[in-house]
């Protein structure tokens, strides 16, 4: 591949320009996958049941008003998409889906394995309509295996994906991450694997059925844990109830901070940063000694930060080249100057919600950067464009489809 162009027109599109996607998912993971493809240039159409995707019923809601257009979760997961409704449980709906599929490169879905096939619109049915189709299925346990029909939830994927076995405190219950990290992980892996399949489709004309398991995504973040067993028969514990503060949040005057040894800072520097002369005693000089005297070490460190503020500590730790963090709250993240410098947020103007600032840019791409093109679609917003302009149903038939609960 050679680059012979001597000048470039200003580009107003993304690296996935020209890629067309049908997003049939109702959940976080599939919707996030579709959104990432849309963020980087794909033309993504959200297809929802006439009653709306399940995510429209999930909070937080704008003004705590559980209205289908006011789910902030739906909003942020469906930016940059168009939206249409289609009832896949009707034969007419299934036929319409088959008419749409030849026009797209990718179908995203997150239904229980076998559900779409049972309706006659599974991968085998759709690939018959479009031989180079990529279908990306994101489910709790994957398309195959004895648990494929089992129901998933965030906490279950975290439990079976090893992470809970090493999280939380010994003696207490194992702990998951807050929020819906496993679902986001499934969405990001869906987008990453789909981008590879699209590259291959461009080279060979072949499509794929991509089978993403959310539980396997979580387990993929446990590599040091997994290998303990086949390398030495070991199982890792959760953290001890005391004497294990380094690498975990510690309270200071107005919040919490976290410190890790290593990086560019020597122990002497770290001792000076905390400022208690006891930290320079020989019993803390070497890593092995610090581990042995860790309960006492934690006490000294906690005392030394009790009256100090997290932001002051954060700045001074950076000057000392320490590995250091402070526990930020959601509203602090909203006002973060570093995120401003990266142009991370975008202002969205939604027809029902109004103006909000949304987390937008996953990463920077120099030639074809992230672009904000529109808020999440309202329910069925682009029905006429898709069915009348696109598939050329007459206005009369279009109205009939609505009355027959197909769209």
């Amino acid at each position: 591949m050679t680059s012979t162009q001597s000048h470039q027109a200003p580009l107003t599109h993304g690296p996935l320009d020209g890629v067309k996607v049908l997003d049939l998912s109702e959940d976080i993971a599939g919707s996030f996958c579709g959104r990432l493809l849309a963020d980087y240039g794909a033309d993504v159409l959200k297809i929802e049941p006439p009653t709306g995707a399940a995510l429209r019923r999930m909070g937080p809601f704008f003004g705590d008003d559980p209205h289908p257009e006011k789910s902030l979760f739906y909003l942020v997961m469906n930016l940059n998409k168009k939206g249409a409704t289609l009832n896949l449980e009707t034969v007419t709906g299934q036929k319409i889906l088959k008419r749409l599929v030849p026009h797209v490169d990718v179908v995203i879905e997150s239904y229980r394995p076998g559900y779409l096939a049972g309706l006659g619109v599974g991968y085998d049915d759709l690939v018959a309509e479009n031989p180079s189709l990529i279908m990306t299925s994101i489910t709790p346990f994957g398309q195959t295996g004895p648990y494929s029909q089992y129901q998933g939830e965030e906490v279950v994927s975290y439990a079976m994906g090893l992470i809970m076995s090493i999280s939380g405190i010994q003696g207490e219950e194992p702990l998951k991450h807050g929020g819906f990290q496993a679902q986001y992980e499934g969405g990001l892996n869906g987008a990453a694997s789909t981008s590879m399949a699209l590259f291959m489709q461009g080279n060979t004309g072949e499509g794929q059925h991509i089978d993403v398991s959310v539980t396997e995504c979580v387990a993929s973040t446990a590599m040091a844990t997994q290998t303990m067993y086949p390398f030495m028969g070991g199982t890792l514990p959760r953290r001890r109830p005391s004497g294990s503060n380094f690498g975990h949040p510690m309270p200071c005057k107005d919040g919490w901070i976290i410190v890790q040894t290593g990086g560019g800072a020597t122990w002497d520097t770290i001792a000076d940063f905390f400022g208690d002369p006891r930290l320079k005693e020989p019993k803390f000089a070497e890593p092995a000694q610090r581990i042995r005297n860790t309960v006492e070490l934690d006490q000294v460190v906690l005392e030394s930060i009790k009256e100090r503020g997290k932001w002051d500590l954060f700045t001074k730790a950076a000057e000392a080249r320490m590995l250091f963090g402070l526990v930020q709250t959601p509203s602090e993240l909203l006002e973060c100057p570093q995120l401003e410098s990266r142009n991370f947020y975008r202002d969205v103007d939604h027809p029902v919600i109004g103006k909000v600032k949304v987390p937008a840019v996953l990463f920077n791409l120099s030639l074809t950067p992230y672009q904000y093109t529109g808020p999440a679609p309202t329910l069925g917003q682009h029905n006429a464009e898709i069915y009348v302009d696109g598939l050329e149903y007459t206005r009369e038939d279009y109205v009939r489809l609505r009355q027959l609960n197909v769209i």
């Binding site: 906490v155 279950v156 499934g186 290998t227 086949p230 919490w256």
Partner: protein, 451 residues
Amino acid sequence: MARLPLEGIRIIDSTYVFALPYAGGLLADMGAEVIKVEGPGRPDVTRTGGYAGAFPENDLGEDWWNRPSTYNLIHRGKKSITLDMTDSRGRDMFRDLIKVSDVVMENFTPRVMRSWDLDYPNMKKLKPDIIMVSNTGYGHGGGPYSSYPAQATTQEATHGHCWITGYKDLGPAKAGASFVDFLSTWTALFAIGTALRYRNKTGQGQWADIGMYQAGVMFMSEYILDAQVNGREGGRIGNRHPYRAPQGCYRALGDDQWITLSVGDDESWAGMCRLMGRPELAADPDYADLLSRQRNHDQLDSLIQGWTSGVDKYELMHALQGVGIPAGPVLNSKDIHYDPQFKSRGFLERVDYPKERQMGSRMFIGRPYKFSNSPLAIQGPSPTFGQHNDDVLQGLLGVDGETYQSLVNDAVIAQVPTTGEATPRVPQTEALERGLLADWDPDYLNSLGLA
């Protein structure tokens, strides 16, 4: 069977620790030729120190730097070369390598890459359609934290996840290990897939600038919106769900055995009451509907644990799933190797090492996606340090024999790291006593069929 997606693509992996090196391993699984570049005096930290994980049979062995478990998981299927980048000959060969590659991944500080004339504008001069991927803690640019030292453990606090993670009503906590590294890993795959496709369409390369902090914050989106719009700051609810009830992690039969479950409707709750042998609870006004179960969650938890603590975790999962309740056991590093689902899907893949490596055969995490038309798989074991110096420098770049020898003599390239030392291993029984291990199974090689 069709070919692999990245066949014919050459990727330079000049990166350290977890995030992009792991992306390199996953790219090799996709069929790319991935060349890991390390300095003779700057071996990857997954070969040494606290990031090494475990060693085969807890034995450092002769060439300890090639034996750690995390190094071997991350660098599967790659080639390895060494180049002293502080020597101009090392940098020149790196430049020559760029000229014949498709993608360069790096995670040096911005200052270092500029000082070597290896920032993106300079790389582009060497190879106009090069795709460059950078990963840093806070991303490039002029932001106030851009030069701050960072790694995943401390960033987990800064990007907000500790705020929402922790036991109910207690302080913030961390979960897992190096969480945000993996978000960068997968973001890099996405960036490379999209950029390669774009290059095929237009002939143009570009620079992907990944900041781990920003990737972490993205996974906090709904909390940030709730704070902005409703003034609600989130916080910690342990293993509970914002609206399903009950949801939690409960003791199962045996020492440190646990089951998770999540009830989302009244019918499945009634089914669970029958399983508990307490059908009357389904009609108890304290628990009969979702809202009262949410209100009385604490007392409900003790009721549930009274039942689960006497039953095997897998038996609980199958019974609860049987009445439509999402449920699953907490699996640890041993359990996952024997779980029927992970086994059936081949999620853990076996790697057989050549005899001279004295590594035997080991199981490694594969990848969380399967392709119906491409047999994605670990393509081979990790390379030894500098194993492909000869292949890549003489074979690919055409360095002559005499020059190659002078590079060896001057330690511009090496097959043994010139710095670093192994952290001594703690014997297994002592590790158990000190609580560094939760459990130890001395018969693991036989049980796994790896003996």
